[in-house]
Symmetry: C2
Subunit: 343 residues, 2 copies
DNA sequence: TGCTTTATAGAAACTGTTTCAGAAACAGTT
DNA sequence: AACTGTTTCTGAAACAGTTTCTATAAAGCA
């Protein structure tokens, strides 16, 4: 584990200059700074205080929305639960705010005494994660999947469960099934769309893009979804909403407009917490365990930090579970034909 | 701002010993350690690295439940929003886990390079907060109120709003109103009970302790509440539940058991996020703004850190808001007498 | 008494950071 | 061409905290 003085010797400069490079002082020449930073990434420099190494782990997010949702809270919960046995401490960082102009991400992390980062991202900030990975800083992304082999990530793939969910609807007799997708096309929402398409294909049903409605992953998104659904000619009898809050809000909005759930409209939602038990009727949903993702992310990061080699990649895909509750039933049309109501 | 060497000189020991005292090395004598720690608290020692002062703020919680709830997520959201303009970073700490045997809290904070802490607590860990305050470490408690003049806190008093809420029920015609309290008797839950009593007293209604049900502040607590309500002789026509999740769960459970809300049972809940809009019907609720509390807590802590004097106290009480939505109506008895239904 | 063990603490060597001072390059003036 | 002043960049030194090695004093035991 090289020190600032080691890096200084390798770069042919003084320790003071290396320190200034880390801390983004404007008085350091561009070539010198770049040389120092790349050397530090290459040699896996970790800051210390005195003879003690600093061991902070960052929970870093790039979007304003990120902090404050139950998903993030559960992620942190899982992380901190795993961290108890280690001497790590958890720091919460807003990447956009802490990054100074002309500063590398590695540089910023080192400046803050961080030796590894769990990156919480959406599709909007995927580039940021790729850049951090390219810089060689130990990091694990949660919430997105990457084709880029350099990026480490823990990801819950909901395609299969989504297919199960939609097949459940098809088996109940639904033929016209709408999907509510996030306006931001994250990997996970696209997975869910794929699962939807898989189910249709498996049952020889054709895909109709008019049944895919993009709404914000918020309460008003779910409400908007139902309003748009209501004015559709030949209204769908079932829907799959891929965001927890939007799903619950849609269920509420449907009921507010006089539709009975699941009697008039079957709803499948998505849940990463306990929301599915807090609706009436209880919400049939595709479920992911955010706490488990947080725990897996920390475990991966920990092993990345432990092995000094930068070669290893962690690209782990967890599953999701489809849970049948009470917001799905036989569609109204079939019910007139004497089919028993499965509630 | 004294350095380790200054403290060492004052205590008549070497810098090495002071460092060991901070880091809880077992080789330091008891008297020496105590002398060093008390000197550091007295002289307001803040750790540095090189010539730069360390500026970490802790979000410290003492109960296992604490992290992971929307309330905590919203608190942190508010804090980090305020922190952006300052050079502070946010660290998340589990007080019980990070505290080493025979270690003072101040010592632990200093050891981790923390210059101030927002303490998230419930009544179970009030002693911890008082101890930290008594040690003189800059801290602000959220979520509890203290009589102890040493403790700084930001607190949302829900007594008045609770009284408004219960008076709303009384004005609708309810005479038998049950209350669901947390099994842990936090200040805020006791406030709500007081508000309930205030409302009864203002309307010359007598208080009946059998109408106060203590249930855990969780989903199953809300469910339990309804089950216990159902078997009561002369069942109450309205309830006030003082926890968000328990309130929503109770509403769902009531509906599952065939009670119509608000037709058969009026429900008032508590909300610190957006849950009241995610139920059908929308939940009439006493609301507190967790983000605002987080922001106020950070602001207070910031001013405590800025002024070196330890004399100032921050004991700020915010308000809550009572919001009428759709889960409250005229009780069934009156409805038979021809009173119009207010939904 | 003499030896060993234990508890305690200091000196020195090592982290990283900043202040002060200096070198080198460039521009403007005489 | 020579002098001055400014800007840009860097290094030496002085400072921050921590740990390893070493030393001392007290206690325990033969």
């Amino acid at each position: 584990m090289p020190s600032v003085r080691d890096i200084a010797r390798m770069a042919g400069v003084s320790p003071a200059t290396v320190s200034r490079a880390i801390n983004n002082h404007p008085t350091v020449g561009k070539e010198v700074r770049e040389k120092v930073i790349s050397l530090m990434n290459e040699k896996r420099y970790v800051p210390s205080v005195g003879r003690r190494q600093i061991t902070n782990i960052a929970f870093a997010y790039a979007d304003d929305i990120s902090l404050g949702s139950p998903f993030d809270a559960a992620l942190m919960h899982g992380m901190s639960e795993c961290m108890e046995r280690f001497e790590f401490d958890l720091m919460v960082l807003d990447l956009k705010r802490v990054l100074q102009p002309h500063e590398t991400y590695s540089q910023m992390f080192i400046r803050k005494g961080i030796c590894g980062a769990v990156l919480r991202t959406s599709s909007q900030s995927k580039k940021v994660c790729e850049r951090i990975a390219a810089e060689g800083f130990p990091s694990v992304v949660v919430g997105e999947r990457f084709d880029n082999p350099l990026v480490n990530f823990i990801y819950a793939d909901s395609r299969r469960s989504s297919r199960e969910a939609v097949e459940h609807l098809i088996n109940l007799g639904h033929r016209k099934i709408a999907v509510g997708l996030n306006v931001v096309e994250d990997s996970d929402h696209l997975d869910r769309l794929q699962g939807y398409k898989d189910a249709l294909a498996a049952h020889q049903l054709s895909f109709d893009s008019r049944l895919v409605l993009q709404v914000p992953a918020r309460r008003d998104g779910g409400e908007q979804f139902i309003r748009r659904l209501e004015v559709m000619p030949d209204r769908p009898t079932a829907v799959y909403l891929t965001d927890p809050v939007a799903a619950v809000a849609a269920m509420v909005e449907a009921q507010r407009r006089g539709m009975r759930v699941p009697h008039d409209l079957s709803i499948i939602g998505f849940d990463d917490a306990q929301l599915r038990f807090l609706t009436f009727p209880r919400m049939t949903a595709v479920c992911q365990d955010a706490r488990e993702i947080g725990m897996a992310a920390f475990a991966a990061l920990q092993s990345l930090i432990a092995e000094a080699k930068s070669t290893r990649r962690v690209q782990r895909v967890l599953g999701t579970e489809f849970e049948v509750h009470e917001s799905t039933a036989v569609p109204p049309v079939l019910r007139h034909e004497g089919v028993s109501i499965a509630m």
